[in-house]
Symmetry: C4
Amino acid sequence: MKKIKRRTFEIIQAANTHDVPSRIFDIGILILIIINVALVIAETFDISPTTEKVFYYIETVSVIIFTIEYLCRVWTADLLYPNLNGFKSRLKYIFSFIALIDLFAILPFYIPFIIPVDLRVLRMLRIIRLFRIFKLNRYTTALTTIADVFRRKKNQLISSIFVVLLLMIVASVLMYNIESKAQPEVFDNAFSALWWSVATLTTVGYGDIYPITAMGKVLSAIIALLGIGLVAVPTGIISSGFMETIDHQDDEKEYCPYCGKKLK
Amino acid sequence: MKKIKRRTFEIIQAANTHDVPSRIFDIGILILIIINVALVIAETFDISPTTEKVFYYIETVSVIIFTIEYLCRVWTADLLYPNLNGFKSRLKYIFSFIALIDLFAILPFYIPFIIPVDLRVLRMLRIIRLFRIFKLNRYTTALTTIADVFRRKKNQLISSIFVVLLLMIVASVLMYNIESKAQPEVFDNAFSALWWSVATLTTVGYGDIYPITAMGKVLSAIIALLGIGLVAVPTGIISSGFMETIDHQDDEKEYCPYCGKKLK
Amino acid sequence: MKKIKRRTFEIIQAANTHDVPSRIFDIGILILIIINVALVIAETFDISPTTEKVFYYIETVSVIIFTIEYLCRVWTADLLYPNLNGFKSRLKYIFSFIALIDLFAILPFYIPFIIPVDLRVLRMLRIIRLFRIFKLNRYTTALTTIADVFRRKKNQLISSIFVVLLLMIVASVLMYNIESKAQPEVFDNAFSALWWSVATLTTVGYGDIYPITAMGKVLSAIIALLGIGLVAVPTGIISSGFMETIDHQDDEKEYCPYCGKKLK
Amino acid sequence: MKKIKRRTFEIIQAANTHDVPSRIFDIGILILIIINVALVIAETFDISPTTEKVFYYIETVSVIIFTIEYLCRVWTADLLYPNLNGFKSRLKYIFSFIALIDLFAILPFYIPFIIPVDLRVLRMLRIIRLFRIFKLNRYTTALTTIADVFRRKKNQLISSIFVVLLLMIVASVLMYNIESKAQPEVFDNAFSALWWSVATLTTVGYGDIYPITAMGKVLSAIIALLGIGLVAVPTGIISSGFMETIDHQDDEKEYCPYCGKKLK
């Protein structure tokens, strides 16, 4: 039993690249995820009831496999966290980010069997499984670096988002007061003006809402130019974050015995 | 009296997190600010006269509280600047950036009582109080860093804005001469062309104004490509500013006695 | 014979700037490439059958010259790779990136003589020869630096593209479910929603598709703001890549015998 | 005479801030330039013949003053370049960038007196004098730094522009072939497709031209995503350029006698 558990753990963990069954398992799950994402997208097209039935069968099989995989992962969680006891390790695993994604991806399928509600919309939550892809490949290190930069620069980024939000609110209240008389249908309330301010600050500019008065155009120009700053500030923060990462990598090099500085 | 003043000062200053009344005061003011912002936005929707009346009552109460808070801050300003005497410290506080914001946020409410003018538009100035949020939380340091970068790179940023403005003026006069014959209604004067140049340089592109002649399209393409530079230059400046910040932080580390270089 | 081969090699290789025939050859080929690109563009306009005939003659002559050049390069490949024998060097050359571009640029012209198919569209592949321009000038070093940055940061860039693609898929499935009832014609399936998500994330915003419901606008605002991150992350990665390049250039400087650090 | 020349030179050169007449001269010229720019813009509005006449008088006076200033600068050029003789120094000055701008700004006014042609359009060249503003203020250093970054990174920037242009040409030829059948009026030739590729790559997206076929949308999505790179690469180059500037400023600091490294 213990041996089976150990083997199951080895297979479902992506660590060893020379372990052929583990490799096959990983690729199989990956293909299943991609099929499910394709299904979610395909379901939005006009499909015949027959096709819909086929889709439902594929989904059912997938969810069963995902459920078995999920249960196996919970079962072998004590091998993942050898320092914890059986219960604690399982609890820790269940509430880990990756396990919660897995759970939310399979749960919407089972709920209608218990409570009779239409959860078709929630069933598309299967697509969040896509994020599992990152666990399967060599890009994990790169992603960790990117996530690390965001984590270290979190406060600065949140602050700049705050400033942007405040700017958006102030700009939209101003714009509403300027434009609502000239375009009462377009700028019908501050929410519409907020929609305009997002489109302008992010420089998306769909063209469904824009000022027509001279004053409104001046304000819009100012906001659009500030939108440049909206790009420049987080870019600057993130750039400096990536630069620090490089410096930290250097820290692992040897040091000069005379001055304690790192050697190149 | 002195004790009351000292206590008032402690409460209205956000410094001490273990001081429960001070915490409650901060959160109370914050909630009041957010309510007022919500009101300013809600007022732009179609509201019944009854709701409007309720809104006005809430606003009145808020402004009274903000006024009391403002007066308390002026009163305790000598504790904020202990080196200055009573009058000087109060004057310094009144003309500080944060106090001016507070003043402009409450003033529009009182003016109609003195001079009979309709200042409904100005009353929305209450929303600028939102910027007070920054004083209340742990993002102050991050914001200071960002503001610091802007301060240090001020001259370079202003210069690049100058270049952009000149480019915009030159481009719009050129575009007016190119397009006004083909689209006399759209490019009716240089101001319209200026509006086009802003939309193009910032890459917003609402789609309400764009060239249709071959020459105009060539100019527009050049301006749009220069718009990339418009993003790249401030971003580069700000990035290098954030990098310097990292370097300056390093400066506080110890130095090697042999070569005077900082130790890592 | 050997002398002629050596001379041919010298002429077709762009190395020596003092070699007049080599210079003339380079410029001649460059002009021929630009003429062919101009032809490909001109062919898209309404042209008379006579003009079309002239275009075809020019194309024929160009392709013959390009073919001769290609064969000469294959012939002299053993001088390019002196360490390899005749066959191996030629094989290596034929499968090099630049030689494949040359081959794909001339092949579509010959295929119709063998298999009777209409390859007019493929004939425009001639324009990929444009990339040859880079081999002919002093910008090669600069381009190598840029390519180098991309190569070194490949994993991080691919990871961020992955995240963006996932975000786009998730956003478009969500948006389809939100907007398809309000705009069944515009958001007719997930593919349309995907088209919206590209236009929003990249901040292009053509204006042919955008949400009209409140929920849809909120999602769109979130995606547009995340689109800022889409710009910030690769910019940060590439910035740090260019910074490393500067650091690496410094590495070639001398080092201090005391502490092993580089001298400035 | 020599004394007058020396004094004239001192006045027209902006160097000495304590020299009151020099200051007045600088500000006077600046105001005149701004008035002329305002005139060029105002002329594009519907103006009465009387106003037009007034505008012409102001322009005439301005051009005369600018001409006198220009001649004074040519006259005193030997004091600007003391190492050169009279003729050489004048020649050098006339062909300097700033002097050419001045010449092009005044020339269009005089040409109609010699050759009877309508140069109304060229007369708006007066606005290029705006660039003189940079010579008059304290932002010169900041601008020099920015210009310096562009100069040092010139090759890399030109290379990336080259790549973008090639990409645009290839993309537009492809797009023309994909979309011309579905939208023969919109994508009527490769030039229209080129206009689309500029709008997409720069993320302006006016919305006057966009693909409607599935294939076209896929290509457009790829080009829009590459457009992100179009922003990221020059931003990265310029960021690293600004970083080098910081490093170079450090070079002026003292050095450690032990290891030859700069002291902080």
